[in-house]
Amino acid sequence: MPHRFEVFLSYNSADRTDVSSLASYLRDLGISVWFDQWMLIPGTAWQKALHEGISSSQTVAVCVGHSGVGPWENAEMMLALDRALKDSDYRVIPILLPSAPADNHIELPPFLNLYSWVDFRVGLNDPEATRRLIAGIKGNIPGPSQEPAASFSVNTTNSAPQQSLTASQNIDLDVLSRCLSVIGIPDDIQPELVSWLRTECDRYLDRSRIFDVSRSIPERLQRFGLPTPVIHDAESFLDEWVTSLTPPRLLSNAFYVSNEKITRTYRAYRSAIEAYFDAVGNPLESDAAEDKFLATYQYFAGTGNFVFLPARVLLGESLFWSADPVFYFVGAFMLDRKELFDAFPSVEVFLKEKSQRITLGLTNEVFGHSDPFHYPYVTMSGYLGQTSMRMRMSRKYVAVNSMTVDSLLTLIAGTPVIISGVGSIERSQDGGYLIQPTACRFSQSQSWLHPIERS
């Protein structure tokens, strides 16, 4: 019989929620899954269908949670084990779900112990377990652990799996929902709003239409009949969220893209990123910096290691949990003009004497200067929420063009601008925080600068 499915999920009905998440997650990774909730037609003889499901699948994943193996699961499992004894290509993969006991005293049928386990007890977003499971389903040797040395702060508050290649799956729904509540969006309309946002983000991952989501936000919010202040806050909030979910949009709008940082980050996580993309059957082919950025971004978002900092600001939570590797940040920043004037005394004179005639030429003079050793780094200081930050960027990666000139001039003139982007944050030697951006843009959002008091 041809294998119509790559994996048959066998489980105890008490673990249905977790297994349902696992099924969706595997499906999103492009794996054909036999999951009874999707396959059984009400009113049909399900025992026969189960038998056919096992027969037409290449592997059987036996999911074990806190309730152990269920009665029907036992029968399915025995059927699978029987087939595995006869067919060496047929694989049985025992899976420990997050609810399985933390110790190793799990009572299981002895035959199941013959097979290698995939352990999801840390959480369904565990990248190493995911990699091993996919290798098992595909019949590949998993190889050594691909987990990067750095520790991640995995958000385990959400039981839904985070790993996915689609934007909508990357939204931390729990955090999003709490943010919407803080802004003042009633609970009863949140599901529809979230659902719409998920769909829109997925639709507009296409680079050619990346601006369309934000454009449609105001109209959509008005349909809910929300008061204007709420619409205003939600608009900027969703706009930033959409930008964070559609990284091509960030790149297209960026005034700063550090090829060097993209390369460094990619190199640091290369093996994990490549394994992640190989595991989903979508190996990386391009060496272009933009593709590396998108792959890195997708990897961190897909493994639940991408932190949407404005949400933490809005929710009044601690900005830094641990060694979070990648942040989406929004804040108000001012240029360190002392450094600027030391490097370009003529600019200070120019500003004093002819401030009414500031042009693109002045911006070019500073940011387009050809000598890379002259004013190599641009330092800015500002705030994320109420936390003071400094930001350092290489001048050579600052883009001077008609889209950025006004904001750059604003910075030169000593006025703060809102900057949003992706990067890492580290503790500087003076105990403060230092943002090392990878890509950033000038943002329109205002309400992220301080926690909203209204709620």
């Binding site: 120019f350 042009t359 030429g361 003079e365 050809s370 890379p372 002259h374 008609s402």
Partner: protein, 406 residues
């Protein structure tokens, strides 16, 4: 930097000699600055728009560029109006600052290309030896290479590495370079033998001319300033001479690659063929421009070497003679008439008279023999004979000796 609006009322002299009055500042984008202009000799003609693509030296300067003058009649109170001496003083001051900046090399297109070629050349010459573990320890001491290795070169290598712009097979070699070059620079600095192109005032002065910050008259003025001359050492002159030879070989190489004028694909449709011819012409024009730039820079370089080497405090006849020899060689690339070449070579002959100059004298003699062999066969023969005497003196193998018969 001059405010863009202040160019209104100035007259720019184009390469073809036409003068254009800039009447209005129309605006600026990221790639160009736009002015409404009118030809000076056709005041009745309506305004047209002219786009100056960046980078343009005149847009970066705080003194009016040599290609501009002010229309004093129409703009008697122009903000840039000043006495010529005052302008020259300010220009000199500004240019001396500019040529002293560390990374000025990155502003000069031709120098950036030379830097990239040096990196490629280094990879080709030494990359395989490195991979085989046979790289000589002192390969950075290679006299052809050493003057090109400096902080800018290191920055360029690090940038290539940091942005993943080096193919995997050459990556270990470049990583090795990134650690070996700083060590070499430190060593050279300690021993006083660090004289890269980029720290050479003459090299940078030539860069200012190449990028049109100054014209030749201004270059001569700056070169004659005591504050500039105190930066010039014998080493600086030698390095400039090296640059001249690099420019020569670069131009000669580009001439070899120049697409033929009659290259057109007759198999294609008329439109395709037109397009192909247009692109071929564009490519040819672009390369011709680059060749001319290299030769022009080389000629000025020769002139500078000659100028300094002839000064009483230098009296370096060999360098002076070499400068004239290479001046002639550069002219030969342009296929211009023989007279200036002959004069340059004859004057070189009077300078290359010392024992340690006989190799260069030999080359001068052969050059002269080729130029005069039709107009004056006897003289050509005399040149040839002397060249052959030198070859014997230098123990040149028989098969490599000149057998040319006039």
């Amino acid at each position: 930097m001059i405010p863009r609006e202040d160019f209104v009322g100035t007259i720019r002299k184009e390469a073809n000699g036409q003068e254009l009055l800039l009447e209005e500042f129309m605006g600026e984008g990221s790639t160009a600055v736009v002015y409404a202009i009118k030809p000076v000799d056709e005041p009745g003609k309506s305004q047209t728009v002219m786009k100056f693509f960046k980078p343009q030296a005149f847009l970066e300067m705080s003194v009016l560029n040599h290609a501009f003058r002010i229309d004093k009649e129409m703009y008697p109170n122009h903000p840039l109006l000043m006495e010529p001496d005052e302008r020259l003083r300010r220009l000199t001051e500004e240019m001396l600052t500019r040529l002293s900046s560390n990374g000025f090399e990155f502003r000069v297109t031709l120098y950036k290309k030379i830097m990239s070629s040096a990196v490629e050349g280094m990879a080709r010459t030494y990359g395989k030896d490195f991979a085989r573990g046979e790289l000589s320890k002192d390969f950075l001491e290679d006299s052809q290479l050493k003057p090109r290795i400096d902080e800018n070169f290191l920055y360029h290598i690090q940038e290539l590495l940091e942005e993943d712009n080096i193919t995997a097979d050459y990556e270990p070699f470049f990583e090795f370079l990134a650690s070996a070059v700083p060590e070499a620079i430190t060593r050279w600095k300690a021993s006083g033998s660090y004289h890269p192109f980029s720290s050479n005032a003459l090299y940078n002065l030539l860069g200012l001319k190449l990028e049109d910050f100054i014209d030749e008259t201004e270059l001569d003025h700056i070169a004659s300033q005591p504050t500039f001359q105190e930066k010039i050492t014998t080493q600086a002159l030698s390095v400039l001479w090296w640059l001249v030879t690099i420019l020569y070989h670069r131009a000669a190489g580009l001439i070899q690659l120049l697409p033929s004028t009659d290259e057109s694909n007759t198999d294609e449709t008329a439109d395709d063929s037109d397009y192909a011819n247009l692109m071929s012409k564009y490519e040819r024009d672009r390369q011709t421009y680059e060749i001319t730039s290299c030769v022009d820079a080389g000629l000025i370089g020769c002139r500078l070497v000659d100028y300094f080497a002839s000064q009483p405090e230098w009296q370096n006849k060999q360098l002076s003679g070499l400068a004239r020899l290479w001046f002639a060689r550069l002219l030969e690339l342009l296929h211009e008439n023989d007279e200036p070449r002959r004069l340059a070579l004859e004057s070189a002959l009077t300078l290359l008279t010392e024992e340690d100059s006989i190799r260069d004298r030999h080359d001068v003699l052969l050059g002269l023999a080729r130029i005069v062999h039709q107009s004056d066969p006897d003289r050509a023969l005399a040149y040839l004979r002397e060249a052959q005497v030198i070859e014997v003196k230098l123990n040149i193998p028989l098969e490599q000796r000149t057998r040319e018969v006039v």
